[in-house]
């Protein structure tokens, strides 16, 4: 819901992210804007190469933003910023990576992996305090404190992802970018990690940016979702609304492609392919508009009219 009283934690304003220079220039993210409210889980979905990870990395300040700005608590975090603020957001914005096999330093013990952020940010006064923090973080993610003296290869995939989560929790963040945190895990382990993420969110009032390509998981865990296609957000809204009534043809194709665990439904499904040439954007270029409260879509004037009619029709049916 676009409740104006809700506190905006992250504001992404018209950002472009360009890789390369001169003739080889490539615009990975093109004029993207969205807000993330405090305490919510915001989903970002799209195919590989759509720019979803790039946006996540831009918020983490790993990829520089070419145009536009990103605000955290109303203050700019991209570009040149004061040192103290830089240190503060390094602590408050954390990331959980996709592959827990590759994102943990295999030569370091869990103890060091978890405390690395603490050390580089000098967030402890004594060795006892550091060890206590590591121990607490491990307990919070459902691991034993003894595990601190082991190496990553001694753990299963699910446990490793828990270590990855502990590493970001130890910094006491407010906002976590979770980039495909469970796609490398098995079905039953996925459920455990998803539950862990939701519980932590409740306990610590965390805000998540959840980047994923598995829509069934996005539907389960997120409050609002943005669908991104070739660097542009094509549709954004409350997750349930978006899944029940997608407007943009790309969103529709994406939703239809998600296999459901129901053989009867699956056999009847026909393949929908999104054809980006179906839009007539030469004379009537598209804009990102709020088509109904809290529901944004990328459309030109003509399409907006059709979508409005669709929404009205749906409204009259209810």
């Amino acid at each position: 819901m676009s409740n104006p009283r809700k506190e905006k934690l992250i504001e992404v304003k018209n950002i472009d992210i360009i890789f390369g220079s001169g003739k080889k220039q490539f615009k990975a993210v093109d004029d993207v804007s969205f807000d993330i409210y405090k305490g919510e889980t915001f989903g970002l979905v799209g195919e590989s190469g759509s720019g979803k990870t790039t946006i996540g990395r831009a918020i983490m300040r790993i990829n520089p933003v070419s145009n536009g700005e990103i605000l955290f608590h109303g203050q700019k975090i991209n570009g040149r910023i004061p040192k103290a603020w830089d240190k503060e957001i390094t602590q408050k914005i954390q990331m959980i990576f996709q592959d827990p096999g590759a994102s943990l330093n295999e030569r370091a013990k869990v103890d060091y992996i978890i405390s690395e952020g603490l050390i580089s940010n000098k967030r402890f006064k004594s060795e006892e305090e550091r060890m206590q923090k590591v121990k607490d973080a491990l307990l919070e993610v459902g691991l034993l404190p003894e595990f601190a003296s082991r190496f990553p290869h001694e753990f299963s995939g699910g446990q490793r992802q828990r270590i990855g989560i502990a590493r970001s929790l130890v910094m006491e963040p407010e906002f976590i970018v979770a980039d495909e945190p469970i796609s490398a895990l098995d079905v039953s382990i996925r459920a455990q990690v998803l539950n862990l993420l939701s519980n932590l969110q409740e306990q610590k009032n965390l805000t998540y940016l959840f980047i994923a390509h598995d829509l069934s998981i996005v539907r389960f865990i997120t409050d609002r979702t943005a669908v991104i296609y070739k660097g542009k957000i094509v549709e954004l809204g409350e997750t349930e609304k978006l899944f029940n009534n997608p407007l943009h043809p790309y969103t529709k194709a994406l939703m239809a492609a998600v296999p459901e665990p129901n053989p009867y439904k699956e056999r009847q499904k026909t393949l929908q392919v999104y054809d980006p040439t179906q839009h007539r954007y030469e004379e009537d270029p598209p804009e990102f508009v709020e088509i109904e409260a809290g529901h944004f879509v990328l459309a030109n004037k003509e399409e907006q009219l059709t979508y409005r009619q669709q929404i009205e029709k749906r409204g009259s049916l209810v």
Binding site: S48, V187, S188, I221, P259, N262, P263, V273
Partner: protein, 346 residues
């Protein structure tokens, strides 16, 4: 029904640092002609080991301890030399692997890679082989085939690369096609296209296919039958709708219940407690028993036999024994089963 491939009482073991690990524990499974069979299980359940043994691709420390793999009058379990395998592998049983990035040679054009397999297995040469390759490229849905023939794998997207891998697999007109997680590395929209392609090719070439996957959505789309594996054993097998909507083994229940589609937003998603058993140790009874809230005493002592649910549906759980107490599947599942029955009646 006529079976193409028949696995009988197969036991596969691995030697590792002086210890012996039993990866496959006395499995029997038939692949019927023209069907698509999905083998579902978590990592470590032995599903990949099972199909690797069919292709003769077990790691060096792995061996078939006992049992048979019957195919076309041969017992593949007896094959020793690479020469034996070359008659079967690729020619009659072909495989599509998970990651199209690593299964193609980056230094050869895709055309040459497909042609290699055409020349080797179909005894075609020169122009004929070239024409056949172009035909295969068209079959797997690639446009501008003459231009694409000359390109290297890095010039293709992930989905297109997987199409090339599929073209190589069907180039030899195999009987059996094994797809090991064919779409795990792909996006949902591309996944849907590749699955559609595989289904079409299966009908066109009359293939019998084995899918290995952990994604129950994919299974629902492509499979005629499902075999569920846990800790090296098949614990339930049946037609797709039977296993989905009339599952009998508690592990199958747990697997379906942990799907996010069945979860209630804002509430805990069902998750299986504990971890899979250590395969180095001898497993007594039902391997799932320690994690199973419905486990009976006998589950810890004796391995359950296959109880018959219907002519096509079998499950290895003592809960189906006449003397067992009546146990209802978890609540979430009952609603799911109900929905399935509604669809079945329509």
């Amino acid at each position: 029904m006529e079976s193409t491939l028949s696995i009988q009482n197969l036991v596969i073991k691995f030697k590792l640092r002086g210890q012996t690990l039993t990866a496959i524990r006395d499995i029997s499974l038939d692949l019927y002609k023209g069907e698509s069979l999905a083998i579902v299980g978590e990592s470590g359940s032995g599903k990949s080991v099972l199909v690797k043994s069919i292709m003769g691709l077990l790691d060096k420390n792995g061996y078939i301890d006992s049992g048979k793999i019957l195919y076309n009058g041969h017992d593949l379990a007896k094959f020793k030399t690479e020469k034996d395998w070359l008659k079967i592998r690729g020619k009659q049983i072909a495989m599509v692997t998970q990651d199209p990035m690593t299964s193609l040679n980056p230094l050869k054009t895709v055309g040459k890679q497909i042609e290699e397999s055409v020349v080797l297995h179909q005894n075609l040469k020169g122009k004929e082989a070239y024409e056949k390759t172009l035909q295969l490229l068209r079959d797997v849905g690639i446009h501008e085939v003459e231009r694409r023939y000359k390109q290297y794998p890095h010039e293709f997207s992930g989905g297109m690369r997987q199409r090339i891998v599929i073209a190589i697999a069907v180039a030899c007109n195999p009987d059996v096609l094994i797809c090991d997680e064919p779409t795990t590395a792909l996006d949902v929209t591309i996944q849907a296209q590749i699955l559609q392609l595989l289904t079409n090719l299966q009908q066109k070439y009359g293939l019998s296919t084995i899918y290995i996957t952990h994604d129950l959505g994919v299974v629902a789309k492509v499979a005629d039958r499902i075999a569920v594996m846990y800790a090296g054993d098949i614990i339930e097998v049946g037609k797709t709708d039977e296993v989905f909507f009339n599952a009998k083994h508690p592990y199958t229940w747990a697997l379906i219940s942990s799907l996010p589609q069945l979860g209630e937003k804002g509430e805990e998603l069902y998750s299986i407690k504990g971890t899979p058993p250590n395969l180095f140790k001898e497993i007594k009874g039902d391997a799932f028993a320690p994690r199973n809230q419905y486990a009976l005493k006998i589950d810890f002592v004796e391995r359950p036999p296959f109880f018959k649910v219907s002519d096509t549906h079998f499950a290895r759980t003592w809960l189906l024994d006449l003397k067992a107490p009546k146990v209802e599947p978890p609540k979430v599942l009952q609603a799911f089963f109900e929905e399935g029955r509604r669809y079945a009646n329509e």
